[in-house]
């Protein structure tokens, strides 16, 4: 890999390589592999968690960071095109990490520069390092990525993390359960893709049947603004809230993942349950990003 723009570009080998490297970085978090290297973090829209995770990853590797955390503090606020900003920054750095509200911005940037580009989120399209940290979290908690039962709950229509994860896991013979209200079901292209590729899945509106059979429960936010009919939202909002009492008959190896931030889809009493994994999942982001950065720069 010489860039990471979309999870759909990644082969099974690419994914396994990143996951295995992330494991190494968790064991040895501070190897100085990026000594003398400069990384730009260009955040055309704010995202504190993702930016800090990337900057931590770079600094733990011994590299240095330049960049901005908001388009208002960049020259794009003066009307500079993305093209010109990327061309200018390419003169200075060894790697560009960018987040941009425009979909396809990272792909375009990667085509106009010789400097490797990592997409840290392009609108509602892709956020591939989130997927890598999700995959690492699954591997770490289950010991394997193969033959798992993964239930995804909540907003499956707009949630880009859901789409990327289900596409990335296609290599590993998963069984999927998709739980969502009618209005937030998976876009039709995904069921079509899974049928065409013989991936086992079903779609439900009730979360309870999937709880005892799941290895991974991937929760997402059900946001009020996604509903055209607020009566419909009021009907379903509590249906998609996970509570600790609901975890009693679940498998021992079940782990609950969430891309965060969560609002009310996971009750606070779940946090103390040993099956809750979302905060560790966020911590895994640094290791996964170290792995992606070093892999793209050919450092390991």
């Amino acid at each position: 890999m010489n860039k990471l723009v979309s999870i759909s570009d990644c082969s099974k080998e690419d994914i396994l390589n990143i996951v295995n490297l992330a494991e190494q970085f968790e064991k040895h978090p501070n190897p100085h592999l990026l000594d003398g290297k400069l990384v730009a973090t260009l955040f055309f829209e704010p995202s504190t968690r993702t930016r800090l995770s990337f900057e931590t990853a770079v600094q733990r590797l011994g590299g240095r960071v330049i960049g901005f955390s908001d388009a208002a503090t960049s020259s794009s606020s003066k009307g500079e095109t993305l093209h010109d900003t990327i061309k200018m920054v390419s003169n200075y750095v060894d790697l560009i990490v960018m987040r941009h509200p425009v979909e396809g911005a990272a792909r375009y940037a990667s085509e106009i520069t010789n400097v490797p580009v990592i997409n840290a989120g392009d609108g509602s399209n892709q956020h591939p390092t989130q997927t890598m940290l999700d995959l690492y979290s699954i591997k770490k908690t289950q010991g394997t990525l193969e033959n798992l039962t993964i239930s995804m709950v909540g907003d499956l229509k707009y949630g880009r993390t859901v789409h990327s994860l289900l596409m990335a896991m296609r290599y590993f013979n998963p069984t999927y359960h998709f739980v969502a209200p009618q209005e937030l079901r998976l876009p039709a292209q995904y069921p079509e893709y899974m049928r065409a590729n013989n991936i086992k899945f079903d779609e439900l509106e009730d979360m309870n049947p999937v709880l005892p059979v799941s290895d991974i429960l991937y929760m997402t936010r059900v946001q009020q603004e996604r509903f055209t009919d607020l009566v419909e939202y009021e009907k379903v909002k509590n249906t998609y809230t996970l509570r600790s009492s609901m975890l009693e008959s679940t498998k021992d190896n079940l782990r609950i993942l969430h891309p965060l931030p969560r609002i009310n889809e996971i009750a606070a009493d779940v946090d103390d349950n040993p099956k809750a994994y979302y905060f560790e999942q966020a911590r895994n982001g640094v290791f996964a990003r170290q792995a992606v950065i070093c892999s793209i720069l050919g450092m390991c």
Partner: protein, 152 residues
């Protein structure tokens, strides 16, 4: 000459694109850049067709298109038939084949796509399903069905 033949006059030399779905006819005109063409162009629309009900036909005198130019027509009129005419005779029938990707001719329907937001980014689409003519934007990855395609 029968009345039927008079509806669209015969061509001495040039290209005939036939069996275009009637509502796609003017899109094909646009796609082939015939609006700016200085050659004689005859456009027939809503003509009777056993297969399509109503069809469109375009005849361009003294013009012979490159295969890749014609293949782009398949994006909006996959069953169109192309005949090359020389001296009033059909000398070649060209089968349209959808390319694997198209650049510059379609517009992404996603208003947040970089091709709609940033100046000077040429659109590029991968053809996912040649039968149903489903395409995927190279940049924003939006999948677009044939009925939603917009020509630039």
């Amino acid at each position: 000459m029968s009345k039927k033949e008079l509806v669209v006059s015969a061509l001495e030399n040039g290209t005939v694109i036939d069996h275009i779905p009637a509502d796609q006819t003017f899109k094909v005109v646009k796609l082939l850049g015939l609006e700016e063409c200085s050659d004689q162009v005859t456009i027939g629309v809503n003509l009777g067709s056993k297969k399509l009900g109503k069809k469109g036909i375009i005849k361009v005198a003294d013009k012979f298109f490159a295969k890749d130019e014609l293949d782009r027509v398949a994006i909006i009129a996959p069953d169109a038939k192309v005949n090359i005419i020389r001296n009033y005779e059909v000398v070649e029938k060209i089968e349209l084949t959808l390319p694997d990707e198209v650049t510059g001719i379609l517009q992404c329907i996603n208003p947040m796509c970089v091709t709609n937001k940033e100046r000077g980014v040429e659109t590029r689409f991968h053809i996912l399903d040649k039968k149903r003519c489903t395409v995927k934007c190279h940049y924003c990855e939006r999948i677009i069905n044939q009925e939603d395609l917009i020509l630039k």
